[in-house]
Assembly symmetry: C3
Homo-oligomer: 135 residues x 3
Amino acid sequence: MDSETITLETGHTRGVFDITGKVARFAAIRGDGHLSLFVPHSTAGLAIIETGSGSEVDLIDMLDTIVPREDEKYRHRHGAPGHGADHLIPSLLSPSLVIPVLAGRMQLGAWQAIVLVDFNVDNAVRQVHFNFLFG
Amino acid sequence: MDSETITLETGHTRGVFDITGKVARFAAIRGDGHLSLFVPHSTAGLAIIETGSGSEVDLIDMLDTIVPREDEKYRHRHGAPGHGADHLIPSLLSPSLVIPVLAGRMQLGAWQAIVLVDFNVDNAVRQVHFNFLFG
Amino acid sequence: MDSETITLETGHTRGVFDITGKVARFAAIRGDGHLSLFVPHSTAGLAIIETGSGSEVDLIDMLDTIVPREDEKYRHRHGAPGHGADHLIPSLLSPSLVIPVLAGRMQLGAWQAIVLVDFNVDNAVRQVHFNFLFG
């Protein structure tokens, strides 16, 4: 298994970060296999969406509706405002994702991008683990 | 790694399509391993639910409540009505799914079925990539 | 591929069960690879969240909001009260999860725990399949 951990500057605001290029470069020299992505944080997750047409903002709006940010709704309420809600994000957007790779190319469709959805505002740097299991 | 891509006639309406039989046939001759399913489309996802008792319709109803279809709610609003909402479906129902297989049998429970949830109405044909990594 | 199935006493109420220790023990002696978890039940799912700070209860509250428990909302309505809603849980919290493992250690972050979210109240015992594909 080939492993690499990337570090992303996500800043102190919530955001949706397109990591497709980084994942593609990791996959490119590795032939056939299952590439797993794993985010070792509890207020972030992964998704595959189309980017560049507005869905990044729509995704955050949707999560704010599904998981409202009023702190009094949550048992988990230490930390920054919205922290209780932030901790539910990974239950909906899993921190674990597997991408099949053939001849070094991810089997993504033309409009699919891999994004890190990071709700953490206290830490400006986030990590993603890449692991390639050869097939 | 053994690979195959299936093509499904999903028509021009939204729908939930049971693909369990097709996946089972792909797994059947392949022994032990991790079978990944991957949908290369940005307005469709996968789920494992019980089929045949009404949950297919319940699932679409739930998604319509969580992700309302009024276009004015979305930044991503070109295309057919509801297209902005459709693009959020894969963030909740991931297009990637891994099924463990032992001696050619998926480890599904008695009531579990694998479904493609396709919200695309413009394209009547969808694909799913199957990849089997032997263990 | 190394395989093991664990059995959990989940009782007759809905609950969130931390299985991190059991998964860690299975991974510990197995080196590098992809560890898949799979729940063979249709009213339960898996998630990775922080436990011990209240998010377990917050998660059930969130699901009750997203997937309301009034039976008249569902086509699938045989069984115990809330059964129609219960059957939608695995579409949001997938029963399948892959964890990368390096040198016998899961790549979980410090605050991440693996939980079984079981909405079934009729069966007091649930299973989770562990499979380790060596890399």
